[in-house]
Homo-oligomer: 378 residues x 2
């Protein structure tokens, strides 16, 4: 018996049609721009209960399943434990919105989208974009939905960067921000790993300077890039616990290059899986946007107490003890910076041994923190 | 004016000629085997002053320069600050020997050496080998030089693995061991990084299943592999101090993929440099040997007090605070294991922010430790 195909709950918002193209931070223009998004719950009559969920690097708009009567079976979303009726981001109370980021390949406009100049995929003709550009498109979507103020923005990793960018760019629009496992700007180490991933893709002869659509893509380079990324999402402890030196299906060493250790097969599997679901050029553009991201010099743009009479932006910053991509010392720098600029900030470091990816793993502590934070806004 | 070419001080010891082939740990046989090596200082009449220096993954026999009258100019060795007259490994007092490891491409037999079957480079016909096999060939060299007992073996990283393997395999031969920035066995994280390096090489179509000699090699894959390796040799702190987010030759972002940050250019440069000096297949074989290495189950083979009347093996274990490839907790495990088996062990963790590579960077603290350790043996 085959399970019925999951219904696609994505909606699409298209704007910046010629000649009103979107001007990007680099100065380049882009249009039309389509943003794929999903929503859960109902917008209140006062339109004041919207929470925007920003996804990470390779995520998509499917943050949670849609279990309405009409939807049949639906596959779980990437933040299923956080979003739903009665959960931390309570869809019985909040209108939850998750847009796919600009530059991705999950429904929003990106390098694999058709270039209106010739109808063929952009490839490297896609303009370089920033986290700021992603947020600009999200703001256009929020305007389109008739939402003048967001109750909150929340996200982890590159999603957390979008959260911070929202606060810098549209301080008057957002009442609260939850930035999880993220940073104000990439360290040299984070840039280094992203650059290795890009080099791995661009070293694959099938990459063909980004012009591979319709033919064989840079699958080998993309798989290696994902393996690199995946290691940075885990931690020494997590890998030790999960794999240690366990061998794959045998008691002895193979004395060959097919992979002896379970961690090797696991990484190869992660690489292969990624090739089937993600576009190599999107990796190039999104990693570059993350490397460029830097709010340190722009904190003067954050809301000042009194900017919105009777209201003050509130922040929750969360880090994980074993996250070595964006370690806790970087979260503390963020907290200090926010406090110096007069923001109302709560900070929590969660003890967890599963590394950067911890925010994607069901954990009651994160649910409780976030649920309490959004409840406490009233 | 051109500097005179550095003289080549390597000597070569060839053994295991057919039919007396060398049997490797895997059961495969290999021969003839050539080990390239360099020596400094004089062997004492009692032949009791020899110290063997084991090099790391991509090192060679040129651990220090040779400044005898006949040698003209000589280029500095990779451990120049440690080895020489009056230095920690004092060539006025000790006979110092550094062999290039089996499987390398720096003079010893490896996958780029001619296969006696057809005279063409082995490629993947080269048998898989272990750290134990490397040490077996070093023992043959030591025998050949007429040295019945080594005053010490010393090495960092994969060189430290060879040190530990010496102590397990030939406990009666070695009086003292210095194991620096090393581990009893690779963690899942270390295996993961090695596997990524291997996958990157094997993903390059120019790798041709290892049969690329005489044509274009897997230069792109090898460069990415080296970039991965290089990041694991540094540390978050070291990269922050050295690069931070400094831009390359410009004040603004390029909004292109040519590299904006200095850390990107630096890594690319490291990758390119490596391609010019190292063989991709040697990376495959040596990383695999390091992944297989595991002395945890073999510590019963270490010398027991009383094995050599009047003498007891002495150990010095050194780790670095910022080494995240072989972190201090792994050095402490080694120390505990050695102590449990009755060994005489000193341990020092050196505070340094330059990561795993710290042992290669001139540092008076390491010189003092090692100098004092070897002096104190008398």
């Amino acid at each position: 018996m085959t399970a019925p195909a999951a219904a696609d709950h994505r909606r699409f918002f298209t704007f910046a049609e010629a000649p009103d193209l979107l001007r990007l931070e680099s100065g380049a223009t882009l249009g039309p721009v389509t943003i794929a998004y999903e929503t859960w719950g109902e917008l209140s009559p006062g339109r004041d209960n919207a929470i925007l969920v920003a996804h990470a690097f390779s995520g998509d708009s499917h943050a949670a399943s849609h279990r309405q009567a009409d939807s049949g079976e639906d596959k779980p979303g990437w933040w299923e434990f956080m979003i739903g009726p009665g959960k931390a981001i309570d869809t019985d109370r909040y209108f939850v919105l998750c847009p796919n980021i600009l530059g991705s390949c999950m429904g929003s406009t990106g390098p694999s989208s058709p270039n209106p100049d010739d109808g063929r995929p952009y490839g490297l003709a896609f303009p370089m974009m920033t986290i700021g550009d992603m947020v600009t498109t999200q703001k256009r979507l929020v305007d389109h939905l008739g939402i003048a103020q967001l109750r909150g923005v929340i996200g982890g990793s590159v999603g957390g960067m979008q959260v911070l960018e929202w606060m810098v760019r549209y301080p008057e629009v957002v009442r609260s921000a939850v930035a999880i496992a993220t940073t104000m700007r990439h360290s040299a180490l984070a840039i280094a790993f992203n650059e290795i991933a890009r080099q791995s893709i661009m070293a694959d002869p099938n990459w063909r300077h980004g012009d591979y659509y319709g033919g064989r893509g840079p699958d080998m380079g993309l798989a290696v890039a994902r393996m690199v990324g995946h290691v940075t999402y885990l931690s020494d402890e997590a890998m030790r616990r999960k794999f240690g030196r366990k061998l794959q299906d045998k008691e002895n060493f193979s004395f060959g290059f097919d992979g002896d250790f379970q961690v090797e097969s696991y990484l190869r599997h992660q690489g292969e899986k990624f090739v089937n679901r993600f576009d190599a050029n999107s990796v190039l553009y999104i990693t570059k946007a993350a490397d460029y991201f830097d709010i340190v010099e722009r904190t003067a743009q954050l809301a000042r107490p009194g900017d919105r009479p009777g209201q003050r932006s509130r922040y929750l910053v969360v880090s994980y003890t074993s996250d070595w991509l964006y370690p806790t010392y970087q979260a503390r720098e963020l907290v200090r910076t926010l406090k110096r600029s007069g923001q109302d900030v709560s900070f929590c470091e969660i003890e967890a041994d599963c590394g950067h990816d911890a925010f994607l793993i069901p954990d009651q502590r994160l649910s409780t923190l976030v649920g309490g934070f959004f409840d406490g806004l009233d």
